[in-house]
């Protein structure tokens, strides 16, 4: 029997990961694909930080009492969040540029327009 309650943030990770991936696959809207990418990214953060948590832990400040949460995943996630916002900005700049070129952010439309221009 799987202990659902103790693992629930891991299960939430799977849920958010699946939903984010689904958004990226299914939505024809490029902005929504970027949001889906963010959901996937955030779900991975959830695994990292959950793995570093100890029952009844205090934040990793030495001035507080034992036990502390593991600071390593926190530091990695901090860097990853800022990398994530950089990534989002570049992706959105590409979306805006695509709209500037094609007049739409629907992937199917853009594919059609590209095929037309090749012929």
């Amino acid at each position: 029997m799987i202990d659902l309650v103790d693992a629930h943030f891991y299960l939430v990770f799977v849920g958010i990961f699946a939903i984010g991936l689904y958004t990226m696959l299914d939505s024809p809207n490029l902005v929504k694909k970027v949001i889906g990418l963010n959901l996937v990214q955030v779900s991975v953060f959830l695994v990292f930080v959950s793995a570093g948590y100890v029952e009844g832990a205090a934040p990793p400040l030495l001035t507080l009492e034992h036990p502390h949460a593991n600071p390593l995943p926190h530091a990695i996630v901090l860097t990853a969040i800022v990398v994530g916002v950089s990534l989002t900005a570049v992706a959105l700049a590409l979306v805006v540029k695509l709209y500037h070129e094609f007049g739409t952010i629907d992937v199917h439309e853009i594919e059609r327009l590209m095929e037309d221009s090749h012929e």
């Binding site: 400040l61 001035t63 926190h74």
Partner: protein, 354 residues
């Protein structure tokens, strides 16, 4: 406590599902902001206040503003015609659901074989390894932090143990700004004063500043900026640090851009100042990295300096804060300006409309 966790988990899944199913990107963005705030509370529950601060400032603040700018600069016509109550949701796509299920089922299987969250004997958090010796975790959090007198061990990891990772992150943020500038075909962060404002957002009238908004923002911005400085300088002692402080400082400028308009704000901040802030941030970081090598330590050895290590960490935090704040502000300002029109094209347009 367990009730709160379950409610939050449900909230996260529900908002994520809404993001996936809502058609209109503006609605999806709004729900994504709510998702990020819920996530910030989850980080607090998981004893990660540093991550929570960053998530609240980045996820619910800067990220949403970037998404809104992208939505405002593009148009989205839902292809279906009926605009009834339910049609703002997208129906599930069976093929995508099958793919997702094929990925999720092994993931669930993997995840349930992990040690329980919060288990003190789990390898990730255990203080004693199976051989009975102190684990690396114990080394990180206990001995080094104590000997350096650096209470916030997240800052310790960022600035001492994994500072090359942080350097990589600094480079990524810097590259992202260059990338956005290249993609949008701009050579400058703020608009040149003579560039005519394009009618990009279909406002019926020219935008008039709201007196309520400007008054409130004038009240709040100094507080927000000072809070950012405080977070940056206290990163070694309290939750916070360069990332959070930088984003909060950048957010105060972005707030100004939202209310006073991004062009006046860009001109007020001045491109040269932004470029200097970013350059000083990167330069400070790199000079600390190389400096320790020059005075006889190894590369990026913050303990090699003859001054207090906490002070070196503080300088690193300030460097990160300057860089992150500058980059975040510049990203939003450039995105708000949008792509430049092709020179020949705009010349033609000017010819058409004398």
């Amino acid at each position: 406590m367990i009730v709160l966790e379950l409610v939050l988990a449900g909230f996260l899944l529900l908002t994520a599902l809404l993001v996936a199913l809502l058609r209109d990107p503006i609605e999806a963005t709004a729900v994504f902001a709510a998702f990020s705030l819920g996530l910030a509370v989850v980080w607090v529950l998981l004893a990660a206040p540093d991550v929570a601060l960053t998530e609240a400032a980045v996820g619910a603040g800067v990220m949403v503003i970037l998404l809104l700018i992208a939505v405002a600069r593009t148009e989205w016509e839902p292809s279906t015609v009926d605009r009834g109550r339910l049609s703002s949701f997208q129906g599930p796509n069976p093929r995508a659901v099958i793919v997702i299920a094929a990925i999720s089922i092994p993931l669930v299987y993997t995840v349930t074989s992990f040690p329980d969250i919060g288990d003190p004997n789990a390898p990730a958090v255990s203080q004693v390894d199976p051989a009975g010796e102190s684990s690396p975790y114990h080394h990180y959090i206990g001995e080094t932090a104590q000997s350096l007198d650096l209470p916030n061990s997240v800052a310790l990891v960022l600035a001492v143990f994994r500072n090359l990772d942080t350097l990589g992150e600094v480079v990524v943020a810097f590259t992202a700004l260059i990338g956005v500038l290249i993609v949008l075909d701009r050579t400058r962060i703020t608009a040149p004063r003579d560039e005519p404002a394009v009618e990009e957002l279909d406002y019926p009238d020219p935008y008039v500043m709201s007196p309520v908004g400007t008054t409130a923002v004038r009240l709040v911005i100094p507080l927000v900026f000072v809070f950012g400085v405080y977070l940056t300088l206290h990163g070694a002692v309290l939750p916070g640090g360069g990332f959070q402080g930088g984003v909060v400082m950048g957010a105060s400028i972005i707030l100004m851009a939202l209310v006073f308009g991004h062009r006046p704000t860009g001109n007020w901040v001045d491109e040269r100042l932004l470029v200097w802030v970013i350059t000083i941030g990167v330069g400070l970081f790199l000079s600390i990295a190389v400096g320790s090598y020059l005075i006889g330590g190894s590369l990026f050895d913050v303990e090699a300096y003859p001054i207090d290590t906490v002070l070196v960490v503080d300088v690193l935090e300030v460097a990160i804060g300057l860089l992150v704040g500058g980059v975040v502000t510049a990203l939003v300002l450039v995105m708000a300006l949008g792509p430049t029109d092709d020179v020949s094209e705009s010349a033609e347009q000017r010819g058409d409309r004398p």
